[in-house]
Amino acid sequence: MEVTIAPLSAIPEGEGRNFVVGSDRVAVFRTRTGEVFAVQAQCPHRGGPLADGLTGGSTLICPLHGWKFDLATGAGPDPECALRTFAARVDERGRIVLSVPPTGYSL
């Protein structure tokens, strides 16, 4: 299922912002190369707010303890510690659209 969440301009270049989509808190990032990525909002290490992290290419660094993740795949410092990712794109009207798995619950 696809959900339109915000105009691209809601997120400054290279930064992230949080959204609640269904029962998920999602951190959405807009990179300087014009891509958008969406991952779980909290760091699996100590729950750090990932939207407040630093990005570079598709790398994300958590602001609390510097754990690094790949925004595209969710891969983290070790295989056991990965981020949940959501497919994200920008539509023809310049809005960010997320794909969220059908949960069986209405949003």
Binding site: P12, R32, G57, Y105
Partner: protein, 819 residues
């Protein structure tokens, strides 16, 4: 207060009680009116300790986790001795065996499991009850009945040679019975042990007087009115007067039958421990099936209860259970056993390390995949269990010398202290990395201190152990250490030293971080290099710098210091540590208005408001009507001072007004690392100015000694005297030259104490005081320009610099705009 939701918990065992405890610890009593319904007529108890009750080593009352008073104390309605028969999901209520109903908003199913009873002819009487003398071993009541029945009996059989069966056998032995354990599999405890370990355990059990019968399938119970014996599928028989059936467990899911919830081996749940069919129904413990797994041990249950509680109370709606890695340490009839993961290799490349000494009952076996532990058995001697279980749980790389995994072997003596340290010694006290982990990392192929620090995270906290980590890496590499070229770069992502980088930035007129990546790093952005570049560009270009906010660390984007829970700390400027009634009143008002959880005095003589939500930052700053204290940035922080001359009877110099002038001069100066300053009105040094990045200490004769490169944090170092001057103005002048020299020449994140040691105080003194390089005037000009470019960042309260700068969470675009 809004009305509390009705939370009903079916099951009053360890899982249900633990889930409720976790919910209460998250303030759940304010959100939920809790009702617990349990079949057993008591409070909940630790089922794991039932065997102690049976063997007499614990009293009944010693195993209770929560006595009846606990329920009352926490306002929990307990309906004990009731069985729930149905869940009516549409109506959102449950029905008990006495037809009473109970409405719920949220439901937790924690019905646990019951003993699995294999089909054995003659086990049951016609009314469906067990033949007298046949028992299962699951509840306190079972325990009591077994104990009562065993009196005066001579022979008992236990069907099932798992952990619980062996414990039951031990209990019966204590009543003086001769006990036979009848086991279907080829060896004991096949869940936790392999064949050889099972054989050694069997031998130990037999030495303690138990008879162990393996590969025996019980088909008949012999005897008409009383138990006389068992008959097996091979035709043999065993005489006994009582039987305990301990052949595994079966999840209790009947309550959900007919409710439409998916049941496979147990109730199927998602990562939030909710039934996959109903978001208001949670399932926890042995009746839950998560990703195909049903857990019958206690530690997964704890993990599940935490996730459930995080989610149901909305403490962390993103909490997710990812399954548990099963590692157990237990005592079977006095024999120590530790078991983790798989018990047999599964892939051709799995490596097995094994030691067996059956005569002493010792057996050790490890299964290693890709240098990491995926399974292990320790029997008899479990001294290495804590380390191995941790390595298994955390999936950490193992030392190359496998012998070390099984035994503590003496290391060869050497003169250097870190060589003598035990492998378990914690080297990095911030991230908890041991010497062993560092060595293992080197053995796994990392050959430079930087690579090891990045892989293990050692040295990435306060950084004070970096030198020790580097030494251990060199030692472990046996001289084959590789130098990481990025060590000489200003930031790892741009292959230039600091002087080269500054020159390139100036020559190419690069004004933004992205321009630096584009022209000097092949267009390759590096996240970790951004803040260092932003700091340098700001220092070089001042207000002509193209300020890309994403290059800043979060603290510098929102001008506050991020805390462990994602809230922020707000510290307004308080020059010289001097405040007044009006400021204090405003601070108090703000603390009250924004329900600030903690108001604390800082080490820098200021007032810290902690726990401020990001969204509240602009309003907090507005209401404070005070400028930023920069207590979040790699920059000039503050200058503390003693009382000085106004009141102190020892004061030689006016330290307060000097501190205020320093604050005005250097406020907002970006720098490679934070700079903390102090002024002291006499050599008693009450403001600790000798251990600051820059400190000024008044001495007799109206003079000031300027100290640089002091530290009293993760490193402690007394500063070096840069020079002695005779006015406030000269303190500002020489401190300014030093600060600017440091800004231009230190590596990113190099504190002044490291910088001064690297260059040497003589060199610094010759440049800064004697102007040996002819740059003193330029350094002073740069200070003036930076000072002129100062702008209080808290003014962004009125004019945010980026979209949604202070928003913790954005709303979705309205539904009307969808599609």
């Amino acid at each position: 207060m809004t009305a509390r939701q009705k939370l009903v918990v079916i099951g009053n065992g360890m899982a249900g009680a633990r889930a409720v405890e976790e919910i209460l610890s998250r303030g759940g009593a304010d959100q939920f009116a809790i009702t617990m319904i349990g079949e057993e007529p008591t409070g909940n108890y630790n089922r794991i300790l039932l065997s102690n009750v049976l063997n007499g080593s614990s009293g009944e009352d010693e195993i209770f986790l929560n006595p009846m008073e606990w329920y009352a104390e926490h306002g929990i309605r307990l309906r004990a001795g009731r069985r729930v028969t149905r869940i009516l999901r549409q109506a959102k209520h449950i029905v008990c065996d006495n037809d009473e109903t109970e409405a719920y908003d949220k439901l937790i199913i924690a019905t646990g499991s019951r003993p699995f009873v294999p089909p054995i002819e003659g086990l049951f009487r016609t009314d469906g009850s067990f033949m007298p003398g046949v028992f299962v071993f699951r509840t306190l009541e079972d325990c009591r009945q077994i104990a009562a029945f065993a009196k005066g009996k001579r022979r008992a059989a236990v069907i099932g040679g798992g952990l619980l069966g062996l414990e039951a056998a031990r209990g019966l032995q204590n009543f003086g019975l001769t006990v036979s354990v009848v086991h279907l599999a080829a060896h004991l405890m096949q869940q936790q042990l392999d064949g050889p370990a099972g054989a050694i355990l069997r031998q130990s059990m037999q030495q303690m007087g138990l008879e162990i019968l393996l590969e025996k399938s019980t088909t008949h119970l012999l005897g008409r009115d009383t138990v006389e014996g068992l008959r097996f599928s091979d035709g043999t028989t065993l005489a006994c007067e009582m039987v305990i059936v301990s052949a595994g467990i079966k999840p209790n899911c009947e309550v959900a039958a007919g409710s439409g919830l998916t049941i496979e081996r147990a109730l199927v749940v998602d990562d939030q421990m909710r039934s996959v069919d109903d978001r208001d129904i949670y399932v926890v413990g042995e009746c839950a099936q998560h990703r195909g797994q049903v857990y019958g041990l206690v530690s997964p249950l704890w993990d599940q209860a935490k996730v459930l509680a995080d989610h149901i109370t909305s403490t962390n709606v993103a909490a997710a259970y990812h399954g548990s890695r099963i590692a157990t340490k237990l005592k079977v009839m006095g024999v120590d056993v530790a078991s983790m993961g798989i018990v047999e290799p599964q892939l051709p490349e799995d490596e097995v390390v094994q030691f067996s000494e059956a005569r002493r009952g010792t057996y050790k076996k490890l299964i290693i995949r890709d240098g990491r532990l995926v399974g292990g058995i320790l029997l008899g001697d479990i001294g290495k269990a804590p380390y191995l279980m941790q390595a298994f749980d955390r999936h950490t790389p193992l030392p190359e010398q496998r012998l070390q995994l099984l035994f503590d072997i003496g290391a060869p003596a050497a003169q250097v202290s870190f060589v003598e340290m035990s492998p378990d010694t914690q080297i990095c006290n911030c991230t908890g990395v041991s010497k062993r982990a560092i060595v293992a990392c080197v053995n796994s192929g990392k050959r430079s201190p930087q690579a090891v620090m990045s892989a293990t995270r050692a040295g990435t906290g306060c950084g004070s152990c970096k030198a020790l980590v580097a030494e251990i890496v060199e030692w472990a590499c046996d001289g084959e250490v590789e130098e990481d070229p990025s060590l000489h770069y200003y930031v790892p992502g741009v292959p230039l030293s600091k002087p080269e980088l500054i020159e390139a930035i100036r020559n190419r007129n690069l004004r933004s971080v992205s321009a630096v990546f584009d022209y000097l790093a092949g267009g390759e952005e590096d996240a970790g290099s951004k803040p260092g570049l932003a700091s340098l560009l700001k220092t070089l270009w001042k207000d002509e710098y193209d300020d890309e906010r994403d290059a800043r660390f979060i603290n510098d984007r929102v001008h506050a210091n991020i805390q462990r829970d994602g809230t922020f700390s707000v510290i307004p400027q308080m020059p010289g540590g001097v405040t007044n009634v009006a400021q204090l009143r405003r601070i108090a008002d703000v603390a009250e208005r924004y329900q600030v959880p903690l108001v604390k005095l800082t080490g820098g003589q200021r007032i810290d408001l902690l726990g401020i939500k990001k969204d509240d930052l602009p309003a907090v700053w507005r209401d404070l009507e005070m400028p930023s204290g920069y207590a979040y940035s790699k920059s000039y922080r503050t200058c503390k001072s003693c009382v000085g001359t106004d009141f102190c009877r020892f004061g030689l110099g006016d330290s307060i007004s000097l501190a205020m002038k320093i604050e005005e001069e250097f406020q907002g100066f970006d720098s490679p690392h934070k700079m903390k300053l102090a002024t002291a009105g006499c050599p008693r040094n009450c403001s600790e100015a000798m251990v600051k990045d820059v400190g000024a200490v008044a001495v007799e004769g109206g003079r000031w000694e300027i100290y640089v490169g002091g530290a009293a944090g993760s490193s402690v170092r007394k500063g070096d005297v840069l020079c002695t001057v005779d006015s406030h103005e000269d303190v500002l002048k020489f401190a300014g030259r030093f600060i600017q020299f440091y800004r231009e020449n230190a590596r990113y994140l190099e504190r002044t104490y490291a910088f001064v040691e690297r260059l040497g105080i003589k060199r610094i003194r010759s440049v800064v005081v004697d102007d040996s390089e002819g740059i003193a005037a330029r350094l002073e000009q740069e200070v003036s320009a930076s000072r002129a470019a100062y702008r209080d960042p808290w003014r962004e309260a009125a004019a945010p610099a980026t979209a949604n700068q202070f928003a913790t969470m954005l709303p979705l675009v309205s539904v009307a705009n969808q599609g």
